[in-house]
């Protein structure tokens, strides 16, 4: 097990280094950098001044040198300066994380609270009208674009309450903040709750076909005991995995939802930075996301070994 963990950690390091090179090169493939955008909007180009800004930002150096500078800074905890605001990138990024984290946590709670029970219900009542309704419902969750769902929710609020639940950065109380975040969290969480529901259903169905379930029935265990004590406990492992993976991959839904609801989180900030070619922000944020994804994957694999004693990581 120890050797396996070490090997995994090394692979993670390789992945992250690869990601850093990939993102760095990709951002610099674009013809033009932030100076072009600035001069584009100014409507004229002053070559001397453009050179000066490029030198200030270090954009005149060879790409390899720029990369080494960035990684060297990362090691020291220095993320460089944002081009647009000229503040240290870390001061721009860190304050935006809490609101996104809260939103993601609420969305996950939402998807677990709805996804798991409805998935179990759907499996236990397989091929009844309830199952069909729930399946179509969950499939719709995978089909609605998250930003459209957000817009529909806004519209419903306007129509019925004459009120738009737009996020304010300084809420009156934690409760008000919670209330304001719940609505976008539902818009984000709908998709993952649909995923969780589908997986719970198929995982339950898989387990319900096993021999030990028949044994439990044969010995006279009640339907409830069979379904929830015997089946659900064994079906829950893949569900935990998908919830974990969703936790890392929610960012896609967060990007559009934060845009719709005007939430000053880190996901919307990424899009803004991409539009402005604000390299220090984009490359650091992308690395941040990649680190989360890689570590969540690792944590899930480790959790598997703990939760399911049959699994041993040795080769």
């Amino acid at each position: 097990m120890g050797a396996y963990i070490v090997r995994r950690l090394l692979l993670m390091l390789v992945t992250l280094i690869g990601m850093s090179i990939l993102i760095f090169v990709m951002l610099r493939l674009v013809p033009g950098n932030i100076t072009d955008i600035i001069f584009d909007s100014a409507g004229f180009v002053n070559p001397a001044q453009k050179k000066k800004i490029e030198r200030q930002l270090g954009l005149d150096q060879p790409i390899a040198v720029q990369y080494v500078n960035w990684i060297g800074g990362l090691m020291r905890g220095d993320l460089g300066y944002a081009y647009v605001s000229e503040k240290p990138a870390i001061e721009e990024i860190v304050p935006r994380i809490p609101v996104t984290a809260k939103l993601a946590a609420l969305a996950l709670i939402f998807s677990t609270l709805f996804g798991v029970p409805l998935g179990v219900l759907s499996a236990v009542r397989q091929n009844t009208w309830l199952d069909y309704v729930l399946r179509v419902f969950s499939l719709s969750g995978l089909s609605l674009p998250a930003f459209w769902l957000g817009l529909l929710i806004l519209m419903a609020c306007v129509h019925w309450f004459g009120w738009i639940p737009i996020y304010r950065s300084t809420p009156d109380s934690p409760w008000q903040e919670l209330a304001l975040l719940c609505i976008p969290a539902a818009a984000v969480g709908f998709r993952s709750s649909a995923l969780v529901m589908r997986l719970t259903r198929s995982s339950m169905l898989e387990v319900l076909r096993q021999d030990y379930i028949r044994t439990a029935r044969a010995k006279g265990a009640s339907e409830t005991a069979v379904n929830y004590d015997h089946a659900l406990r064994n079906a829950v492992l893949p569900v935990v995995t998908i919830i974990g993976i969703e936790a890392a991959f929610l960012i896609g839904g967060l990007i559009v939802t934060e845009t719709v609801f005007n939430i000053p989180g880190v996901a919307r900030f990424l899009v803004e930075a991409i539009r402005w070619r604000d390299y220090p922000i984009v490359q650091n944020l992308v690395m941040f996301i990649a680190i989360i994804v890689v570590f969540v994957n690792f944590a899930i694999d480790m959790m598997y070994a703990v939760l399911d004693p049959r699994i041993k990581y040795e080769e």
Binding site: M26, F147, L151, G252, I255, I274
Partner: protein, 297 residues
């Protein structure tokens, strides 16, 4: 050529009616929801192909007098701020969605299949390298990867297709690779080797056709997410540029301010996206049950 024959199973199940009509009838009876999905997809493709005949208005013509016209009357689904007919823009928008959806899925599958097949069949350092590369690409969510790619390639139809296709590659490559690994050990591959077939020929003639079933299932699922990602990119202003009527872009133009004043600008493009993706998912689910019953997610 050794291919595990799904058509035969279909025809058997279709019993007395022969040929593809029998298979079709069987599919409709067995998977009514999947059949509905297929009909939605067919309508979508037909709309894209016959956009000129379907819509009476030109999607690009602006007309200040009908700015934000309500649905009903001359403009069935209303008009946008610039007075362009919403129905016409949705009908023509199907072309963008279809082009990007099918284009990105096809491109992603072609690259993924090539990489996965080579990786699984030849193994060695190539396999190792490819696996690490796929790890790297999978450490970013689909939309984030597509966003960065779209931004670095610049806005155009073909770049949007590439930006969505590349992030789809790892999924395809992984599945094809794992299938290839098990197929490689099959007796018919050994037999082909025994009669002196070249490795490349074995890979293409014997292994590739047997990975088609999972590939078709995966491609249908990817089609739905490709269309969704295209709409999200367009919504964020990084997709197919103006004046192309992309559904996602129609929503970003209208966005939050029209929620109050012109809800039809928000409702109809979203209905179009959702309906098409829903149809794709319904069809994809049925296809998966039919072709790849082991994989149930």
């Amino acid at each position: 050529m050794a291919v595990i024959d799904h058509d035969a199973e279909l025809a058997k199940a279709g019993a007395n009616v022969h040929g593809w009509i029998g298979a079709l009838l069987f599919f409709v009876r067995r998977y009514p929801l999947g059949a509905i999905g297929a009909v939605i997809m067919a309508l979508f493709v037909a709309t894209a192909l016959f956009a000129d005949q379907i819509s009476t208005f030109d999607p690009f013509t602006t007309n200040a007098r009908v700015s934000l016209a309500r649905p009903g009357g001359e403009h069935v689904l209303g008009a946008d701020f610039m007075g362009r007919d919403v129905f016409a823009r949705i009908v023509y928008g199907a072309r963008i969605s279809l082009a990007v959806g099918v284009g990105a899925t096809a491109l992603g599958c072609i690259i993924g299949v090539t990489i996965g097949l080579m990786s699984g069949f030849f193994g060695g350092w190539f396999d190792l390298l490819v696996q690490r590369l796929m790890d790297i690409m999978q450490s970013l969510p689909l939309l984030v990867m597509a966003l960065v790619m779209a931004a670095s390639l610049g806005p155009s139809l073909s770049n949007t297709i590439i930006a969505i296709a590349i992030p789809l590659v790892p999924n395809v490559a992984r599945i094809i690779r794992s299938n290839t690994l098990s197929l490689r050990e099959m007796p018919f591959v050994e037999a082909a080797r025994a009669i002196g077939m070249s490795e490349t020929r074995i890979a293409v003639v014997h292994v590739l056709p047997n990975t088609l079933a999972p590939l078709i299932v995966l491609a249908t699922a990817q089609l739905g997410s490709a269309i969704l990602v295209e709409s999200a990119l367009a919504f964020l202003g990084l997709g197919v540029p103006e004046p192309h009527p992309s559904w996602g872009r129609m929503l970003s133009e209208s966005a939050a301010e029209y929620v109050r004043t012109a809800p039809w600008l928000v409702i109809f493009p979203g209905v179009a996206i959702s309906a098409v993706v829903f149809g794709t998912n319904l069809f994809g689910d049925a296809l998966r049950d039919l072709l790849d019953p082991r994989q149930r997610i």
